[in-house]
Every structure is written in structure tokens, then in C-alpha cells.
């Protein structure tokens, strides 16, 4: 410290001095900076350049912002975008609420077989995306287990077309993702609940607060940062939704369950490839993630 102080008039040498003193630290940082630059920022710049080009396969040429203008006149893109936002608006809140309820229930120290229930609810999160999607497809098929069940309990008179009806197909997708990711989010809340001081609940009980009041006035405020974190992660995950839709409905019927990611896949591999336009659509996801995360931070992160 004293050495640095004696040289503070000459900024240049201070910098060199500091660098010499910390060069090992710099070395570590430079490695990861180079890595991130090479594997994150370079592809991002390249993808942006690609999004300014258009053409079939390898015959790409620069078209300026044409691709971005094309987005607004592209009904398939607009359908994919609205579907994705719909999934987001319905599925993320439902899942977060469910995960919160489960975590609070399973945090009850008097509950028997807690470990078993926790594992059972978390287990879907470790299954492979494709495997579970295929199983859901069979469960919800027109003569699948779900229809059999509903028929046998006389809840419906004829089988529902879960996968071929535009509305029900969306519901099926939402049920599938909720099943897959609720347990994953529950684990975050459970671990956060371990850090909540038990004496707060004790004090609340002494003051006569009901369990519901405890949940809303102690648990939720204390879990706020985690709720923010999980909702951002879930939002990003839902925006990138691909496997489930690809395997369960392949976007159908008639694009009713198409998502943005699936549209990118179709543009690159299903139709005559236009990688430029596909890159443009993928930039839309990036922009959406930035905007939505910003909003969530503004709404939820008032403490920081």
C-alpha cells in the first residue's frame, strides 16, 4: 500500500506496478476473458452479421435490415411469438406458485416421509427432455392413458383430441412443461427456506398469525430474491422452448403450438435453408430475454 501511495502522481507507473503485483490474478482473468470472448461474443457478433444477410443455403448476401422488416410481415413468426408469450404468461406463474406451495408443504418438519416426497417431486427434473416428451405424447394420444382415465370416470363422453385440437394441444404442452420444471424450482425454494430463521415464525405464531399469514408476510418476502431468480430462469427457458413442442406436437396442428425456437429450426432445416433469417429470429429471443429480465429486475429487485 505505502509503495503505491508514493507513486500516485504518475498514474501510468501505478498501473504497471499494480499489474506486476497482481499479474497472476490477471493471468487467470485473461484466460476466461479470452474464452468468453471467443466462445460467446465472437459467435454473437457473427450471428448478428448473419442476421443482416439472406439467401438460400450458402448463397448469402447482405440485405441490411430487410430481415428485421420481414419479421413483422411474417405470420408464422407472429404466431410463434404469440404462442411463446402465451406459454410464458400462463405457465411460468402457475409453475412458480405450485413450486412455492410444494416447497412450503415439504418444509414442514412434522411431515412424515419428507425425503420421499421431495425426491418424487424433483425427479421429473432429471429425466431427459426428449424421453419425457415422448411419454407425454403417448399419455395424451387420442387413445392414451389420460383419455382412458377420463372416459372411465365418465368425465368425458368421447376421447379428447389432446394433440390435434389447437386449444387442447397448447394445454398439453403447458401441462408437460409444468410437470417437468416445477420440482426443479421447488428445490431452490426449499434450500432458501432452510436459511429462514425459525424464530420469526415462532414470533409470528405468538403474535397470533395464521399459517396463511405467515406464508404471505414472512415466507414470500424472504424468498423474494429467489423467486426473482427462478422466474428469470424460467422465462428464459420458456422462450427457448423446443424439445417438448418438437416431440409432442411438432408445432401443430397448423402452427398452433409453434414456438420461436422451433421456427428457427424449421427455417434452417425443414424449409429451404435461410440461415440469415433464422439468425434474425434468434436475435428476437435475445432481445426478449433482455427486456423481460429488465422488467423483472425492476419489479422484483427493489432492495438492490
Amino acid at each position: 500500500m505505502s509503495q503505491a501511495n508514493s507513486h500516485y502522481t504518475k498514474q501510468q507507473s501505478t498501473f504497471v506496478q499494480r499489474f506486476k503485483k497482481n499479474y497472476i490474478g490477471w493471468l487467470f482473468i485473461i484466460l476466461s476473458v479470452l474464452g468468453i470472448g471467443l466462445f460467446y461474443f465472437y459467435p454473437m457478433v457473427q450471428a448478428f452479421l448473419l442476421s443482416l444477410q439472406s439467401g438460400m443455403g450458402s448463397n448469402l448476401e447482405y440485405v441490411g435490415l430487410d430481415n428485421y422488416i420481414r419479421l413483422f410481415n411474417d405470420p408464422t413468426f407472429i404466431t410463434a411469438l404469440t404462442n411463446t408469450i402465451l406459454y410464458l404468461l400462463i405457465q411460468v406463474p402457475v409453475m412458480i406458485v405450485l413450486a412455492l406451495i410444494f416447497s412450503v408443504l415439504l418444509n414442514d418438519p412434522t411431515l412424515k416421509f419428507r425425503g420421499f416426497f421431495r425426491t418424487a417431486i424433483f425427479l421429473p427434473a432429471v429425466t431427459s427432455l426428449v424421453a419425457y416428451a415422448v411419454i407425454f405424447k403417448y399419455l395424451f394420444g387420442s387413445d392414451g392413458l389420460v383419455n382412458e382415465f377420463l372416459l372411465n370416470f365418465n368425465l368425458i363422453s368421447e376421447p379428447l383430441n389432446w394433440l390435434t385440437d389447437p386449444f387442447l394441444a397448447k394445454i398439453t404442452i403447458i401441462i408437460a412443461i409444468t410437470w417437468r420444471w416445477t420440482g426443479y424450482n421447488m428445490i431452490f425454494y426449499l434450500s432458501a427456506l432452510q436459511n429462514v430463521d425459525k424464530s420469526m415464525y415462532e414470533a409470528a405464531r405468538i403474535d397470533g398469525a395464521s399459517p396463511v399469514q405467515q406464508f404471505f408476510f414472512i415466507t414470500i418476502p424472504l424468498l423474494k430474491p429467489i423467486i426473482l431468480f427462478t422466474s428469470i430462469v424460467s422465462t428464459i427457458g420458456t422462450l427457448q422452448l423446443f424439445d417438448e413442442v418438437m416431440n409432442i406436437t411438432s408445432g401443430g396442428p397448423g402452427n398452433a403450438t409453434m414456438t420461436i425456437s422451433m421456427y428457427i429450426y424449421n427455417l434452417s432445416f425443414e424449409y429451404t435453408p435461410d440461415f440469415g433469417y433464422a439468425a434474425t429470429v434468434s436475435y428476437v429471443i435475445l432481445i426478449l430475454v433482455v427486456i423481460l429480465s429488465f422488467i423483472q429486475f425492476k419489479l422484483g429487485g427493489d432492495r438492490e
Binding site: G57, T249, G251, P253, F269, E270, Y271, T272
Partner: protein, 431 residues
């Protein structure tokens, strides 16, 4: 606490080791493929479907007597082949690409036009005129023949004799009918037997393409103009489609296995589809003798033929080292060998589009399952009548737009609006 810490460490270590292992596998896998691509003496071929295309390639290898010829056949799902070709060819390096690749006819133009230098013209290695006419437009580009036509997707109207008899129809009543007659028959079948006439996946508009091609029309014209609005055959096809859907004559399926199950379980009375569905129909042995095949219904229009096409693919040679050897192999086997085609029919059940082959013995085979009908011969005759269409570049792209509009058509939107809206959307999309 301590115990948990160690458990965590062990879990982490396992994860790292697992990650390292899988990484290693990927690396060696790629290296192997690159070797194949670079080495000129050995030929690689990519195809899908081990019982059909791969079996055909293996058979061709047996029929090809050239001691210096070595070929490795790699099986990939069709979607994977499309993906790998697209990523490989667009990156500009031909490393890891195969010498011979199978491409579906409806996709071929998009590859030939997107990557003009990637394919090798093989018109000199066989005589294109020996092949069914309808196969040539999709497999050639800019006046050059790039593909060697392989299997035909010639369609047939597979039907259950017992259900149709119960509804009062004989084989003769079903020969050379129109699609509107087909719809009427479907209504009778539903009334008399309670069975649906056919199974359809609402995501797959293949049936519309089959109907449209009987008149030699497509979503696009030969010069690539999108023609949905005012496309009379398409309009008729859609009207028939809606009629089938609205009268509950269709058993909906949401994937391939459900589609197969629909006729294997006896839930539908007919399967209008490409001949390649034959082996799947025959797979249900308990239904032997209950099936027959009639020619594909045509649209009720001047000049429509009772023949159409669904699917079918062709072989392409990539423009890399070993292309001459690969083209010679294809020319000598798939391109000219009549005997090979007889074995192909008998052993693999694949009907090629090589016209001279249909005179061979194997084509006269009377199939017990289909009441002793000479199914293969019939197909090969219908094949020659298939009206030629140019599939163009955007079949699948246009179809996605159309399928969304069809949902609205079924909900009551007028046919004119449906087609003109689809036209506007498609024009915006594929300029």
C-alpha cells in the same frame, strides 16, 4: 455436514468424469467420419431406413463386381441427414461429407439450388430416359441430371375388402374413381360399418398433395411462382378434405405409430398412400386376404390421371474425391441393372423407377396378402402415368402456412379467403 460435503465432492467428480468421457466419444466419432470423407479409395453413403434404403444399398453393393470398390453405408435418420448436409455444406468445408447421399425428391431442389457447387452431375453415368418421367424434374437442375432416381412413391388406394363389401362395393366400383366419389363411398362405409374411411394426421398435408398431383398441379408453378389463390385442383382437394373431416370419416392420428395402428387394428377401411405403406399393411398377418389395392382416385377435372405420388427419394453424389467411383457404382447398379431390380422387389420390397425393370419376373408376383393381386406390377404400371410436377423449393414452407389456414377453413372461413390469405403470406415469405 461433513458427510454431505464428501457426498457433494463425489457427485462433482462423477459429473466431471462423465462429462470427460462423453466428450471423448464425440471427438473420436468425428475424427472417424473425417477420415472417410477425405479418403478417396473408400466410398461413404448416407441413407435412412435400414429395412428399405439401406437394404437396397447393401443389395446394390452385392450386385456390383468391382474388387477395388469399398463402400461404407452409414445409417442416419432422414432429419439428421438433412441437418448434417445443411450445416456441412453451408460451412463451405466438405469435410465429413459422404460421397453418396439419399435425398427426398420434394427436398432435392432446395439442396441443388442452395449449394450449387456441392453436387456432382451424374447424367453421363446412366440414361435418364430409362426412368419414370415424373422423377426427372425434381432430380435435375439447370439442365444437368444430379440425382439417380430411386424408389417410387406411386400411390394406391389400399382398402379393406370386407368393409367395402358390407357397404355394397366391389373392386370394380373402386377402380378409376374420383375423390368426390371416394368421399361418398366413405359416407356409405361409415353408415354401414361404423368405421372411419381413413386415418390422417392434421399436421401432414400429404393427402392434399396426392390429390393435387393427379392433375399435375402443385403449390408452385414450373417457374416457381406461388399459385395458391385460384388453384382449382387445390380448391377441390380442400373441399374433399373438409368433407371428410366434417362428416367424421377420418380417424385422427397425431404421429406415425398411431397412423399405422389405425389400419393395423382394423379401425379404418382404407389407406390412400404411397406404395411403401404396403409392408406396414402386410405387417398385420391376421388381416391377410382382407386387403386389395385400387388405383388412386383422381380429382374431377379434365386431364386428371388415376395415379399420383407420395414421397420417394433419389441418390446424389457429392462433389468431393471419390465422386467418379461413386457415380460409376450408382450407374452400374441402380442406373442399369435389371436383375438387381428384380432382387430389390423380392428381397427388399422396394419398387424402383427404372422402367425396363417392370418386365422382369419378380414384378409379376401374385401377392397372397392382397388376394393374389399382382400388386407390384400394378404399381409399376400406375407409376408410368403419374403426372409430372415440379416440386420447387418451398413445398414444406408453404405447407406450414397452408396448414394454419386450413385450421381456420375447418372452423368456417371461406375457401377463397383461405387461399388468398395463404397466397399473400407465402408471397411475403418466399420472395
Amino acid at each position: 455436514m461433513r458427510k454431505n460435503f464428501w457426498l457433494l465432492m463425489i457427485a462433482l467428480l462423477t459429473a466431471i468424469v462423465l462429462a470427460a468421457c462423453s466428450g471423448g466419444d464425440d471427438g473420436s466419432g468425428n475424427a472417424e467420419e473425417e477420415d472417410n470423407g477425405d479418403d478417396g479409395s473408400q466410398i461413404t453413403a448416407w441413407a435412412w431406413d435400414p429395412n428399405f434404403n439401406i437394404a437396397a444399398l447393401n443389395l446394390a453393393k452385392e450386385h456390383y463386381d468391382n474388387e477395388n470398390f469399398e463402400m461404407e453405408i452409414i445409417e442416419n435418420a432422414q432429419d439428421d441427414i438433412v441437418q448434417r448436409l445443411n450445416t456441412g455444406l453451408s460451412s463451405g468445408t466438405m469435410k465429413g461429407m459422404p460421397n453418396i447421399v439419399l435425398i427426398e425428391d420434394q427436398r432435392a431442389q432446395s439442396f441443388l439450388q442452395s449449394y450449387p457447387d456441392a453436387f456432382y452431375a451424374i447424367g453421363d453415368y446412366f440414361n435418364p430416359e430409362d426412368f419414370a418421367d415424373y422423377k426427372l424434374a425434381p432430380t435435375s437442375f439447370d439442365g444437368e441430371q444430379y440425382g439417380l432416381p430411386f424408389d417410387t412413391g406411386v400411390t394406391g388406394f389400399f382398402y379393406r375388402t370386407d368393409y367395402l363389401e358390407e357397404a355394397g362395393y366391389t373392386h370394380d366400383d373402386l377402380v378409376n374413381i374420383t375423390w368426390s366419389e371416394y368421399v361418398e363411398i366413405a359416407k356409405d362405409v361409415k353408415e354401414q360399418t361404423g368405421q372411419a374411411m381413413l386415418s390422417l394426421d392434421p399436421n401432414d398435408l400429404g393427402i392434399l398433395r396426392v390429390m393435387m398431383q393427379t392433375t399435375g398441379t402443385w403449390y408452385t408453378s414450373e417457374d416457381g411462382t406461388i399459385q395458391l389463390e385460384g388453384n382449382e385442383p387445390l380448391q377441390m382437394a380442400l373441399e374433399n378434405y373438409k368433407e371428410l373431416m366434417e362428416n367424421d370419416l377420418v380417424k385422427l392420428s397425431s404421429d406415425w405409430s398411431q397412423y399405422l395402428a389405425a389400419f393395423n387394428s382394423g379401425d379404418v377401411a382404407s389407406v390412400p398412400a404411397g406404395n411403401w405403406i404396403g409392408p406396414s399393411v402386410e405387417a398385420e398377418e391376421s388381416q391377410a386376404g382382407l386387403w386389395r389395392v385400387a388405383p388412386t382416385p383422381r380429382l374431377d377435372m379434365e386431364g386428371a390421371a388415376n395415379a399420383s405420388n407420395q414421397g420417394g427419394s433419389s441418390f446424389y453424389v457429392l462433389n468431393i474425391d471419390g465422386k467418379e467411383a461413386a457415380a460409376e457404382f450408382l450407374g452400374e447398379t441402380f442406373g442399369s441393372n435389371v436383375e438387381f431390380y428384380q432382387d430389390l422387389v423380392q428381397e427388399v420390397g422396394a419398387i424402383g423407377t427404372f422402367k425396363p425393370a417392370s418386365e422382369g419376373d419378380a414384378y409379376q408376383f401374385e401377392n397372397e396378402f392382397f388376394n393374389g393381386q399382382q400388386v407390384v406390377y400394378d404399381f409399376s404400371q400406375w407409376m408410368e402415368e403419374i403426372p409430372q410436377v415440379d416440386y420447387g423449393m418451398n413445398t414444406y414452407g408453404i405447407e406450414d402456412i397452408l396448414s394454419a389456414e386450413i385450421q381456420q377453413y375447418l372452423d368456417g372461413k371461406s375457401l377463397e379467403d383461405v387461399l388468398s390469405d395463404a397466397q399473400t403470406q407465402a408471397e411475403n415469405q418466399f420472395k
